[in-house]
């Protein structure tokens, strides 16, 4: 019986693993089947580079949405990445062990809060604050960037902490033995060694920011025009899909699926980059004979 189950198990598990792949394939197929014909019909140039989004009259340019998504995401990274990495460095390198045990779960709590709650707080508190402090309608790229920045903090921090913890203690000890202060050893050795892990965390945070829908719809304002400043209201790719999918038919619906394809490809590229970054890091470590 032992031999039997030992032969059966891997086959079963392979089937299970392939089911997972199947799910991804089905979803990818689903998006591409609806969106690809549209891209072929309208042409990538018009779709991606035109600023005219008026589906009722047959205009499907998503450039403003692409630009808005980029602005919002980079804004979120500007806020979330430095904060997240700084927090991770503090907790992993300088804070007493007990603090990590308390603070890490607290940060994970942040990631459990539903995005609609974030969006709601953004509407009730953040947007009016931005409006009175900086002008504009308040519902803006800035508001979305801040909300998203806070939302990706846990991701960036968790991965950064893992990356820092996986730097061998011998690196730190070596630096200290050479006379460096703790901060110098962190700055010049640990951070450098963990560089690729930190980058992976940032890239995954970026992926999360690009894909966020509910919170962004509530605070970004969703205007269809090309944003010219961080205080302008803007519509991201995800918001565009969510706002219009419920009722879109025909070409309009295909256009939204085509937007989905664009998102899908962007996220695939980002994941590829994150993977490459992680691999480079682990290869270097293996080369050094860890």
């Amino acid at each position: 019986m032992n031999l039997g189950s030992d032969r059966l198990a891997p086959r079963l598990l392979l089937a299970v693993a392939c089911t997972t792949m199947l799910c991804l394939l089905v979803i990818a197929l689903f998006i591409f089947k609806e969106g690809l014909p549209f891209m072929v019909k309208v042409g990538l140039g018009d779709f991606l580079l035109s600023s005219d989004w008026r589906p009722d009259s047959g205009h499907f340019g998503i450039l403003p949405m692409i630009v808005s998504s980029l602005w919002v995401t980079f804004g979120a990274l500007l806020i979330g990445a430095p904060l997240g990495i700084a927090g991770a460095v503090f907790l992993a390198e300088f804070a007493p062990q007990g603090l990590m045990r308390v603070v890490k779960p607290a940060i994970e709590l942040l990631s459990g809060i539903p995005s609609v709650v974030y969006g709601f707080i953004g509407v009730m508190v953040l947007a009016p604050f931005i409006r009175s402090a900086a002008g504009g309608p308040g519902l803006s790229i800035l508001a979305a960037a801040i909300v998203l920045g806070v939302m990706i903090l846990p991701t960036v921090m968790a991965i950064a902490i893992d990356a820092l913890r996986s730097v061998p203690q011998s690196y730190r000890e070596g630096a200290l033995a050479l006379g460096a202060t703790k901060w110098q050893s962190v700055r010049m050795v640990v951070l450098v060694a963990a560089r690729s892990g930190l980058l992976a965390g940032v890239i995954l945070g970026m992926g999360r920011a690009i894909g966020e829908t509910m919170a962004v719809i509530m605070v970004a304002g969703n205007a269809v025009k090309m944003p010219l400043s961080a205080l302008d209201s803007a519509r991201t790719l995800t918001a565009n899909i969510a706002l219009e999918m419920g009722y879109a038919t025909g070409m309009h619906r295909q256009a939204l699926f085509a937007t989905g394809i664009v998102l899908f490809l962007v996220i695939m590229i980002l994941n590829g980059l994150a993977g490459a970054a992680l691999k480079r890091g682990s290869l270097k470590r293996r080369a050094r004979g860890r």
């Binding site: 989004w53 008026r54 589906p55 009722d56 009259s57 403003p64 509407v123 009730m124 947007a127 009016p128 409006r131 309608p137 308040g138 519902l139 719809i217 509530m218 304002g221 969703n222 205007a223 269809v224 025009k225 209201s233 519509r235 969510a242 706002l243 219009e244 419920g246 009722y247 879109a248 038919t249």
Partner: protein, 297 residues
């Protein structure tokens, strides 16, 4: 470091058993017949009312199970067409062409109030000016007699029945690309309440002290004016069925049109269905419909 025990712990054995039995229970429960159940789907503006009506109908008819979903007017139409729902809810002034296969029953009317922040001096606006504001042609409050401040235009997403009706009544136009888009009445109310320069529109029943409705063409937005037909931003709420309503769905629709259902609707800010009108041809005002050209459209 001690070597771990090779005996599977009780915990690892319990979990899969629990999961499997949970699954079986749920599936077994679910495989019951679904006659005597009605699903409504569509307009998010009408959804809360439909839920309340469903509650009341359930209390009176416990053998029927009425479920209400949202998703928007257009989802309501497509759900009614593909059978995911027996009744679709739509709050559009004009039903789109693919809804022609459906039979539409008017069960209520809803006024669309044009609202501004309470600090705004403007108290009334004409329809052509309103249209110009939403097209982006009038961009500053001083052109309307108010202070010197840019107008923040707030609108709904394109699939909204409220927006469709609003634009349709004002005369079709391209919304300015500067308009802030929100996806529900409630968030439009929040936006206008928080922004002194904002103008928006929403269901008349949702106006509260945080915002102020303005007169349109000199007519204040009130139930009397809507019912009389003098306030023109009105839209009907349709319940759509594939073919004439019959069976359990008909029972529910009859309840909604009956005195108890209508009273419930009115109690929460909607307006009753036009007297004697059970189809869109009847128009939306209580004034007698003179013929195919009549009705407030």
């Amino acid at each position: 470091m001690t070597f771990p025990s090779l005996r599977p712990s009780l915990e690892t054995r319990r979990v899969p058993a629990f999961a499997v039995s949970l699954l079986c229970c749920l599936l077994a429960l679910g495989c019951r017949g679904r006659e005597g159940s009605v699903t409504l789907a569509g307009s998010t503006a009408f959804q809360p009312f439909a839920e309340k009506l469903a509650e009341e109908y359930d209390d009176a008819h416990p053998e029927v199970n009425v479920t209400v979903q949202g998703g928007g007017s257009a989802l309501g139409i497509s759900a009614a067409l593909n059978g995911a729902a027996q009744i679709g809810m739509a709050d559009l002034v004009e039903l789109p062409p693919d809804a022609s296969a459906l039979v539409a029953t008017v069960v209520a009317r809803d006024g669309i109030a044009v609202v501004v922040n309470p600090k705004n001096r403007i108290a009334e606006i004409s329809m052509p000016k309103l249209r110009a504001v939403y097209m982006g042609k009038i961009r500053n409050w001083k052109e309307l007699g108010g202070g010197d401040a840019p107008i923040t235009v707030v609108s709904r997403e394109s699939g909204s029945g409220t927006r469709s009706s609003f634009e349709s009544i004002l005369g079709r136009f391209d919304l300015t690309s500067d308009a802030i888009i929100q996806d529900s009445n409630g968030t439009i109310r929040e936006t206008v309440a928080n922004d002194g320069n904002a103008i928006g529109y929403l269901s008349y029943g949702l106006v509260n002290e945080k915002i102020r409705s303005v007169e349109v063409d000199g007519v204040p937005c009130s139930s009397e004016n809507i019912l009389a037909g003098s306030y023109r931003l009105v839209r009907p709420i349709y319940l759509l069925t594939l073919g004439a309503p019959r069976g359990t769905p008909k029972g529910f629709i009859d309840y909604v049109l009956g005195p108890a259902g209508q009273a419930s609707i009115v109690a929460d800010g909607l307006l009753p269905a036009p007297r004697g009108a059970a189809s869109p041809a009847g128009g939306v005002s209580d004034a007698p419909a003179p013929g195919p050209e009549g009705g407030a459209r």
